[in-house]
Symmetry: C2
């Protein structure tokens, strides 16, 4: 079974929908199982493999980060937020199930993430550390905070520093947490965990900068119409630094990410390939 099949099987198995009302269970499955690149669980597995973690443990950790990701997409798409009706070519959760169910679906997926961590076959101390990492990444200093800055910066000029804070919160925090969760699922030295954290921080920022580039150049296949950031008047790396400057900024993050991996030698090949795929992608 390749990584992606394994990840999708875990998502299907670990979605806590059995005791849920039918509509909510269906909306949760729809939100999680409608495709996606599974970048975050792949990072969990690749970082976890370096740490010699048990694959069954990483299944739980990977599913948890993906549930948080799906939760944030469902809420971001809502009319009061980005008001998107299509994602990956299919109706968004609120377009299909109504706004009220979409709000509850996002809420229930966030809960599902923490339930999944708590049920992971891992030591309690590790689970506790993961809960902290994931809650911080999802919360006020992470994704919810980044999304708030997004809303507030609409139609206002931004500096690169402001953009970085917004991107690190909105997208970077969960990607970084995914790597950190994988890294702490097994046995690594503090220096190694720290190196992986530097990798995760750089990849997370680089990924979002490349998102800006693709959105500006109309090549985006990001689940939203190309150019939608400009139409909303939302400042991006591309609008602030120009497309060429934004590409250079993304590559700077890629180089930082790859540099952080050098201490692992060829053991980090999968993480290096993931970083390249995430930041050099053209769609």
């Amino acid at each position: 079974m390749d990584d992606l099949s394994r990840i999708d099987a875990a998502l299907t198995r670990l979605l806590p929908t059995r005791a849920a009302p039918a509509t909510l269970a269906e909306a949760m499955r729809y939100a999680v199982l409608s495709g996606g690149k599974r970048v975050r669980p792949r990072l969990v597995h690749a970082a976890g493999a370096i740490a010699d973690a048990r694959p069954a443990t990483l299944d739980h950790a990977g599913a948890a980060v993906e549930f948080i990701h799906a939760s944030s997409l469902v809420h971001d798409d809502l009319p009061a937020m980005d008001d998107d009706h299509l994602r990956r070519g299919k109706p968004t959760v609120h377009a299909r199930f109504g706004e009220a169910i979409a709000i509850l679906t996002g809420d229930a997926l966030q809960s599902a993430a923490f339930a999944t961590l708590a049920a992971a076959p891992a030591e309690a101390a590790v689970v506790r550390h993961w809960v902290r990492l994931l809650a911080d990444a999802a919360g006020a200093a992470g994704m919810a905070g980044g999304q708030t800055l997004d809303i507030e910066s609409e139609a206002k000029p931004s500096t690169e520093t402001e953009l970085e804070a917004r991107h690190r919160g909105k997208t970077g925090a969960l990607i970084r947490a995914s790597v950190a969760i994988g890294a702490t699922a097994g046995n690594l030295s503090e220096a190694e965990v720290s190196a992986l954290d530097a990798y995760g921080a750089a990849v997370g920022l680089g990924f979002q900068i490349q998102d800006d580039v693709l959105n500006a150049t109309g090549k985006a296949n990001l689940g939203k119409p190309a150019g939608s950031d400009q139409r909303r008047g939302l400042p991006t790396y591309a609008s602030v630094l120009g497309v060429a400057g934004a590409r250079e900024a993304a590559h700077r993050q890629l180089r930082q990410a790859l540099d952080a991996l050098t201490i692992f030698g060829s053991r980090a090949d999968a993480l290096a390939a993931l970083a390249r795929g995430m930041i050099e992608r053209e769609r």
Copy 2:
């Protein structure tokens, strides 16, 4: 310091708003610190006292359940849900900060709950157990599920069995989890934890039945206009069993709750008083 002052101090101290954007931090404080009876943290403290748990540990546990409660209120008030503009006589979070910020505030408060559990001065195995209890109470089989049943049952006749499932999810699950979290914060036998769980389940259901009674009799001071359930066509214990029948159903739960406490003797006086206060209240 009495219980309520201690609880409010913990909520203020543990709200993770320092690294948050100013608007989001303000909205989170507004949602949590605008009053409320703090029923759930009081249950945590009272159950925890029987278990001889450290008060500092209970501060974290109590704040976590209140953050989940506040999170659900913010989302329940949204236009796509109950569309309430006032709560406890003040504008709701979306009325004051806008819908987008209200969605993010609810999300960030849920994350804050789990971050607070993870940071509690308690053994990792206890924290892990709490995360499971709280995530299950908040999620698809708990509050989000109950709220889904609420939405789906609008203007449809309900049986008492359906009502019970809805109430146990929407309100009962978090009240029950609050008691269970307090009960497992210290040292109790399995039988004692189990007795407290029976107490929590009965109190949770009885509390919501009494809510129906007060809503129907117009005495409600529940943060929503009296009679609002009827106007929405939402079946309640009062509409299905009549007000007298609903009162009797609430008292049946109170008796079950008090019966469950007998093994503790006078050590459970605070829990008994809380149950009476929650189910015999007339506003």
